[in-house]
């Protein structure tokens, strides 16, 4: 895998191109979010600001779901934070490939999206920093513009589930996982099996977000001896 991407604009541009299909999807989902928020009586400014300063599909829908169902502010915040807790291990995974001091790295870390993070993974735990940042740009634009369109137009987009678009993400993550498994050793396979068992076991008993976080415990296998 070439790694000239750290320099120049080539890596960013490649990332932007790779992010475009997901930007399309983000735009559709954002329109739904905007329309949903408007229907909940959030007004115009609040949902748009929410998308601008947070840009998190899962967290924003969680807040809308909890508040929309009459839940309290604390419950809404807790649901969103749990869902986004996955960005902690994701941030640790990309950390060695970010540039500069702590402040610069913290800023670059803001571009972590689940899709961009996965797109930028290069197997064996390596990441392409410029690719990740580039991939986030079109998705961020689509997300904020889409939210505004949804809020202002009340457009009801076609049923995402009927089009099968909800499987785009797990299918994409599976394709990348299979690449990780091909390039990784026995320990990668073992960690994958343990993570699958942990996630499946936690889904019925833990709130959303916790299964993904808990499954990261499988990575502790790395503490054990050497070999790959």
């Amino acid at each position: 895998m070439r790694n000239e991407a750290g320099r120049g604009s080539e890596g960013y541009l490649a990332g932007i191109r790779a992010g475009l299909p997901f930007a399309l999807l983000a735009g559709v989902v954002a329109i739904s979010f905007g329309a949903l928020a408007r229907s909940l009586g959030w007004g115009v400014l609040a949902p748009i600001m929410f998308s601008v300063i947070t840009f998190s599909v899962a967290a924003q829908f969680a807040v809308a779901a909890v508040l929309g169902a009459g839940g309290g502010v604390f419950a809404a915040i807790a649901a969103a934070v749990l869902l986004n807790a996955r960005f902690l291990p994701m941030g640790m995974a990309v950390a060695p490939f970010l540039e500069g001091g702590p402040l610069r790295r913290a800023l670059e870390g803001q571009t972590i999206l689940t899709t961009s993070w996965a797109l930028a993974s290069r197997g064996g735990g390596r990441f392409d920093r410029a690719f990740m940042i580039g991939a986030t740009v079109p998705q961020y634009v689509a997300w904020t513009v889409g939210t505004a369109v949804g809020v202002l137009s009340h457009v009801v987009v076609g049923d995402v589930e009927r089009l099968g678009l909800d499987v785009v993400f797990p299918a994409f993550f599976l394709a990348l996982l299979m690449r990780e498994l091909r390039s990784g050793g026995k320990r990668t396979i073992a960690a994958t099996a343990i993570a699958a068992a942990l996630a499946a076991a936690l889904v019925p008993i833990a709130p959303p977000g916790v299964p993904v976080l808990g499954a990261c415990g499988a990575a502790l296998l790395g503490l054990k001896g050497r070999s790959s």
Partner: protein, 102 residues
């Protein structure tokens, strides 16, 4: 400030803090090899958890439905060396078709 704005601002701040924490904690210095080994395994562990929860997770329980079929089709496509994008499109098509017929 209304409850909505409180939620929006706190979620935004928490989100930024979570995204900043990993890069600050694990970047910019040499880590012991064992810690690096753990960090390297976070990627397959996270991908696995995302696949499991998004394929089988349904309102707090596990379900076997049209999503599993679509993701299965993607797995076969990848095994047959199809490009990732094609595998993903086939997955969506298979799931949509199964829902249409189901």
């Amino acid at each position: 400030m209304s409850a909505l704005w409180v939620a929006i601002v706190i979620v935004a701040l928490a989100n930024a803090a979570i995204k900043a924490a990993g890069p600050i904690l694990a970047g910019g210095r040499e880590l012991p090899p064992r810690v690096n080994a753990v960090i390297a395994l976070l990627t397959p562990a996270l991908l696995t958890a995302l696949v499991i929860t998004e394929t089988f997770g349904e309102d707090g329980h596990l379900a076997l439905d049209e999503r599993a079929l679509g993701v299965g089709v993607a797995a076969v496509a990848v095994m047959l060396r199809a490009p990732v994008l094609l595998a993903v499109v086939l997955a969506a098509l298979a799931t949509a078709l199964a829902r249409l017929l189901g």
